[in-house]
């Protein structure tokens, strides 16, 4: 048995009340950290998932057509101001090659082409303005999940069918199997059968989105064989921005990541992360101070014993190690209890607080990594917090210490 371990352990065991107190302090601190982390990361994951459930991680669009900058000669006078041009029917041609190329790039998990444009849906004299979105259903589902949005009907999109949002279905009094007419501004018009009614999670989308087979949308909108957007799903969600930059470079198209399309959300998530980090840092400080103060008291109380150990020839470094180890042990065990406490609290609130549809109001993300990291940090913080008391113990003059 090692001297340092044995003495550290005995001193902790002997100072029962203090040890219990300090363990409780560390446990509560770690519990709060685990709880906050679980709730915040759970919430964030949930918000991102909800937001991205109808969005691609990266959307490729045709590059903007811009006017060539007029040549200016130094000293010349500008006589006309040229207005920015409209992006009229700007589509992506030869997209098959681009899609194949994007598919082969790293960090890309799925790609889907889309031809979309404005249109009108009409049925029984009611006309609603909609967005016509032509997709290859299989590709599209790889990027945007639909199976969890299906309300009625079947997720199939053969020629002559359409998938519509539930608000539109209600407005037009439609059910799967019902028929509606879609028209476009360019004069295209076609009658289609409702294949399925979907709930996209947002009222606006439910009112406007009409999914059509790609070929039919291209015809209706007059795009011939072109598409307007290419949806890309990234393997690593948070690397979408670098992927977008990469894609723009490779394809020559404009690439927007989900972060740039959801600026406010990203800002909100960042400030939430920052504030939860602040809480964690301050709780960690409080825990460290707690450990330090209890150990300082313990050093003072055990002054005489430390003096005796020193007198009989214990090296100062060994005394130092004894108290550092006590700090580390308190941190480690405290973090184990604390992780348990935090997990129970987080699970508890996630079970108790439910939204109307029965899903948890506070979804929690508890993973092993969180516990391992917490235990490591807590142990380290324990050792660091013990540094001052341990130095104090190691520097005790045995003569003074024994005299008391």
């Amino acid at each position: 048995m090692n001297f340092v371990w044995m003495v550290a352990w005995r001193l902790l065991r002997e100072g029962r009340f203090q040890t219990a107190l300090i363990l409780a302090g560390v446990s509560i601190g770690v519990g709060v950290i685990v709880y906050i982390t679980a709730i915040v990361s759970g919430l964030q994951a949930n918000i991102i998932e909800r937001t991205l459930s109808t969005q691609a991680h990266v959307v490729l669009r045709p590059a903007d057509i811009v006017n060539q900058a007029p040549l200016t000669v130094p000293g010349s006078v500008k006589l006309a101001d040229i207005a920015k041009r409209t992006q009229r029917e700007n589509t992506i041609a030869n997209w098959g090659g681009i899609v194949a190329r994007v598919r082969g790039m790293p960090n890309v998990s799925a790609v889907a082409a889309m031809a979309s444009g404005p249109g009108v849906a009409q049925q029984g004299g009611v006309r609603k303005s909609v967005v016509l979105m032509g997709v290859e259903l299989e590709d599209y589902q790889q990027v945007v999940r639909l199976d969890n949005k299906l309300q009625a009907g079947r997720l199939l999109l053969p020629t002559g069918t359409a998938l519509i949002g539930k608000e539109l279905a209600a407005d037009l009094g439609l059910q799967p199997g019902g028929r509606l007419r879609v028209q476009t501004a360019t004069g295209g018009s076609q009658s289609v059968t409702v294949g399925a009614v979907l709930d996209f999670g947002l009222k606006d989308l439910n009112k406007r989105w009409v999914l059509l087979p790609l070929r039919e949308a291209q015809n209706l909108l007059g795009f011939q064989r072109d598409v307007t957007e290419i949806y890309v799903k990234s393997e690593r969600l948070f690397e979408a921005e670098s992927l977008a930059a990469n894609l723009a470079l490779v394809t020559g198209l404009t690439a927007d990541s989900w972060q740039s399309s959801n600026g406010q959300l990203v800002t909100a998530l960042k400030s939430q992360t920052a504030s939860s980090l602040m809480i964690r840092v301050f709780v960690t400080f409080a825990v460290a101070l707690g450990i330090a103060s209890v150990l300082v008291v313990s050093v003072v109380q055990r002054q005489r014993e430390i003096g005796i150990l020193r007198a009989m020839g214990t090296p100062a470094s060994r005394i130092l190690a004894v108290f550092l180890l006590q700090g580390g042990l308190v941190g480690l065990f405290g973090s184990l209890f604390g992780s348990l406490l935090g997990a129970v609290m987080a699970e508890g609130i996630s079970r108790m607080a439910k939204t109307e549809d029965g899903s948890p109001l506070f979804p929690v993300a508890l993973d092993g990594e969180l516990f391992v990291t917490t235990a490591l940090i807590a142990t380290l913080v324990g050792v660091l917090a013990a540094l001052l008391p341990a130095l104090r113990a190691a520097r005790l003059d045995p003569v003074v210490a024994i005299r008391g």
């Binding site: 048995m1 090692n2 001297f3 340092v4 044995m6 005995r10 001193l11 065991r13 002997e14 005489r304 014993e305 005796i308 150990l309 020193r310 007198a311 009989m312 020839g313 214990t314 090296p315 100062a316 470094s317 060994r318 045995p398 003569v399 024994i402």
Partner: protein, 235 residues
């Protein structure tokens, strides 16, 4: 152990400088059993602390087992303490968190960082020698005063020290127990040849020691048995 012209002063700077020891010349011979006598304030404790390498002299030199100790750092002095010296304190000063056996092993444990089964056996043997074999697993608080002091004495012997320094080892014991403890010290001295220096107030117990060293106002008094150092009467 030899002390040459050892002086110790306290204070200095703003507080007045007080010299407690005025040049001590002293030699302890291997196997000796000596009593150190002196009234309170005579500098006994300071002398003992210096001999125990717990305090450094202001001037003079202290040799222990042939090693000069002036200028050694704390780690070196700690190592010397661990190897050559044993301590018995007035109040047993056993560690309450450890059993009697563990307390006995502690000097070895503290010095080496670990103990072997042989060390454990030696500790048990030492306890048996002072009649405490049955109390090995007990904590200090479960032992009587005399038993505690006996554990403290064999603890001082654990590392086979050359010199055991005892600071009023019988100070808080009743007369009969004090006599028993003193007899034990004599016995250990005779049987193992360990050198003992015992600080005591008790003239009756000191009379039983072959050598009596008297300290008065920081100076050694001639003791008549072994010749005191020549400069004992002056600086």
């Amino acid at each position: 152990m030899t002390l040459e012209g050892v002086k110790k002063s306290y204070g200095g700077g703003k507080s007045p400088l007080v010299e407690v020891l005025h040049g001590i010349e002293l030699q302890l011979v291997e196997g000796e059993f000596a009593a150190l006598l002196g009234p309170s304030g005579s500098g006994k404790s300071t002398l003992l602390n210096i001999m125990g390498l717990l305090e450094t002299p202001t001037a003079g030199e202290l040799h222990i087992a042939g090693t000069a100790t002036a200028g050694l750092d704390d780690a070196a002095r700690t190592a010397l303490r661990n190897r050559y010296l044993g301590f018995v304190f007035q109040f047993h000063h056993l560690l309450p968190a450890f059993s009697a056996l563990e307390n006995v092993m502690m000097p070895l444990f503290a010095g080496q960082g670990r103990v072997t089964p042989q060390d454990r056996q030696r500790a048990a043997m030492l306890l048996q020698r002072v009649g405490l074999a049955d109390h090995a697993a007990k904590r200090p608080v479960q032992l009587s005063g005399g038993q505690q002091q006996r554990v403290a004495i064999v603890r001082a012997l654990m590392n086979r020290p050359r010199l055991v320094l005892a600071d009023e080892p019988t100070g808080n014991l009743d007369t009969q127990t004090a006599d028993e403890v003193f007899a034990l010290l004599h016995e250990l001295n005779r049987e193992d040849g360990t050198t003992f220096l015992i600080v005591t107030h008790d003239q009756r117990l000191a009379d039983g020691c072959p050598r009596q060293i008297r300290l008065l106002d920081g100076r050694l008094q001639p003791d008549g048995l072994l010749s005191p150092a020549p400069s004992a009467s002056g600086r």
